[in-house]
């Protein structure tokens, strides 16, 4: 059917900025979906030859091998400071971090807040699935009350485990932040909305309006103890109730 006259390609099997699409992340994982969106935005903004990815440590660390983008691997939580060093030396390059919630909101909370406050013109992409995926599904600072994880088997309890941090909301309050939004990849519609947010974030960087953050809720059926097909609903009913979708800050030029 593909060589039927009058056919045009809408989207290829292998996206432009992927060296390979083969990976060992779990069935139903949202992280590759979010990462693909980022690469599509870079292509649309013609930044393919002007981009550096600073990768955190998590399941997504596997993307170091897969992405056809100059990449610097950072330690757990430390991508924002590494991105700062890269951006200060390469001010005209689109520098972005790719980090999980354990990485950014647990280990690296200080780093992301300071980098945002400083108004570094870098874009942080947070892959938030509410668990430490790579170590097997443990509670993070974004896990929601009632969420069952390996370190909160009866569900996160406010009195014992404390409350989740809504990181995008925190960062949005900092003067150095130029664009902050929260999206997700649990449906095609959500993917489309999130792609717009990521585009706005990179535009904020290019226009030097300060730090940009897009928090993307991603499915982790393994960490959530649900069948893959139930990942989207679980996200909407749990993480999505606390980490609410939408644009949180859009700074104008000349702030």
């Amino acid at each position: 059917m593909t060589d039927h006259p009058g056919t045009h390609l809408v989207a290829p099997l292998k996206p432009e900025l992927f060296l390979t699409t083969e990976h060992h992340l779990c069935p139903g994982c949202g992280e590759p979906v979010a990462t693909r969106i980022v690469t599509e935005v870079l292509c649309e903004l013609a930044q393919q030859r002007s981009a550096v990815c600073v990768l955190g440590i998590g399941c997504y660390t596997a993307f170091a091998r897969m992405l056809d983008i100059d990449t610097v691997q950072a330690l757990h939580g430390r991508a924002p400071s590494v991105a700062t060093g890269v951006k200060r030396m390469l001010p005209d390059v689109s520098v972005f971090t790719l980090q999980g919630d354990g990485d950014m909101v647990n280990e690296g909370l200080q780093e992301v807040l300071h980098t945002a406050a400083r108004g570094e013109n870098v874009t942080a992409i947070l892959l938030n699935n509410g668990v430490f995926g790579e170590t097997g599904g443990h509670m993070t600072a974004t896990s929601v009350i009632g969420q069952r994880t390996k370190t909160s088997l009866d569900g996160r309890d406010a009195e014992y485990h404390g409350h989740p941090i809504r990181i995008a909301d925190l960062v949005a309050r900092l003067d150095g932040a130029g664009y902050v939004a929260r999206g997700s990849v649990h449906s095609a519609g959500a993917v489309a909305k999130t792609k717009k947010m990521i585009r706005a974030a990179f535009e904020c960087q290019v226009e030097r309006r300060g730090f940009s953050l897009v928090e993307v809720l991603t499915m982790c059926p393994t960490g959530w103890f649900v069948p893959t097909a139930d990942g989207p609903d679980y996200m909407e009913q749990t993480l999505g109730q606390i980490h609410v979708m939408g644009e949180l800050k859009v700074a104008r030029a000349g702030r």
């Binding site: 030859r49 100059d70 700062t84 060093g85």
Partner: protein
């Protein structure tokens, strides 16, 4: 800078960084490192560089990591406590083969183990340079950037409060070390030129290329790092300053600013007819074991003077290997703040310590030394 002028040690080290082409510096204020950060903050923008007063030591080394990944010369530093905070990054930046220069403006000699043993996790070493004064500090700082690029390995410069706050007349001209340095074709610039690059400490690669350590996974990756350290140790000559050891009965071993006092006192004692010599390691790693063994061959006692509870003495013992008794004549010495200069950094105190060794050698063996 090509004219000699009076400046404090921190400023001289900052100028030396700039003369070496350092274009990125990040740090967190902590005594006695603070002034180095101040001078870099003042001077780097004039040279087209960037200095960031980072919000923590860990972020400072992280920023230097990012700058290094783009191929520029970059440095950070602190005092021992601050370097303790940085250790995970210092260990892993070594695995990432990045040429960081890191300053320990120490609060004494007690950071010797941290500096020379690889203060973080895993198997790695940094080249460690210990200047005795500002002029040597200026030369060794520039050498540090050169060696870091030559070996794609961090180099640590071990300074201290005295070095930081003393004023000397210095000429900070750029030095040429002669070697051709390899091109930094591993550095990222965003352009995937000729293809996407990966700066990583995890042993991955993007294009399936065989590199030492890649072929069989993590075990090979870590083993390759060990082999790299061994290659550095074999290939980079240890630097040492040896004096008056040929016929010495007592050899005094010391490093850094304290060693300058030892040199002065040994000269005094020689003038008074005592057979005393000194060995001053300049590279604390690679440690000048061979030179130390040769210099102490005929000694009756090897005395180690450190401003600490005794750390370098372990390396001295290993080098001497039982051929002579090794005695510790140092100790913790600091001021009321704990940051600075105590009584030990005084020629009369140093002389008294060495004279005590001389006396005990005479007493035990009956012949004047």
């Amino acid at each position: 800078m090509s004219e000699r002028r009076l400046m404090e040690g921190s400023e001289a080290l900052a100028e030396a960084c700039i003369a070496a082409g350092c274009r990125f510096f990040a740090g967190y204020p902590m005594t006695p490192f603070t002034e180095l950060l101040e001078h870099m903050a003042r001077r780097l923008p004039d040279e087209g560089g960037v200095c960031v007063n980072a919000e923590s030591e860990i972020e400072a080394v992280g920023m230097a990591w990012g700058a290094l990944a783009t191929g520029v010369r970059a440095a950070t530093g602190s005092t021992g406590q601050g370097l303790s905070l940085m250790q995970e990054s210092l260990a892993e930046i070594t695995l990432a083969r990045l040429p960081l220069v890191v300053f320990n403006m120490a609060r004494g000699g007690s950071d010797y183990f941290q500096a020379t043993r690889g203060g973080g996790h895993g198997d790695y070493r940094h080249i460690v340079l210990a200047p005795m004064d500002i002029n040597e500090g200026v030369a060794l700082t520039q050498l540090a950037f050169h060696l870091a690029d030559k070996w794609r390995n961090p180099v640590l410069v071990y300074g201290d409060y005295l070095l930081s706050h003393t004023y000397e007349a210095v000429d900070v001209s750029p030095l040429d070390f002669g070697d051709d340095l390899p091109a930094k074709d591993w550095a990222v610039d965003g352009r995937r030129d000729p293809r996407a690059k990966l700066v990583t400490m995890l042993g991955f690669s993007k294009h399936g290329e065989e590199s030492p350590g890649m072929a069989q996974g993590m075990e090979r990756h870590f083993q390759a790092a060990v082999e790299h350290t061994a290659a550095m140790e074999r290939g980079e000559p240890a630097r040492v300053d040896v004096g008056f050891c040929d016929d010495a009965d007592i050899v005094v071993v010391a490093f850094g600013t304290l060693a300058k006092f030892v040199r002065y006192v040994v000269r005094q004692l020689r003038a008074d007819g005592h057979r005393v010599g000194y060995v001053r390691p300049i590279t604390l790693w690679p440690f000048p074991s061979e030179a130390l063994a040769a210099a102490t061959k005929g000694a009756r006692t090897v005395a180690v003077l450190e401003n600490s509870g005794g750390q370098m003495i372990d390396d001295v013992r290993l080098a001497v290997l039982g051929r002579a008794p090794v005695e510790f004549i140092g100790g913790i010495s600091t001021d009321s703040s704990g940051f600075g200069v105590g009584d030990l950094l005084d020629t009369e105190v140093v002389r008294a310590r060495i004279e005590a060794v001389l006396a005990s050698v005479v007493a035990s063996e009956g012949a004047p030394a």
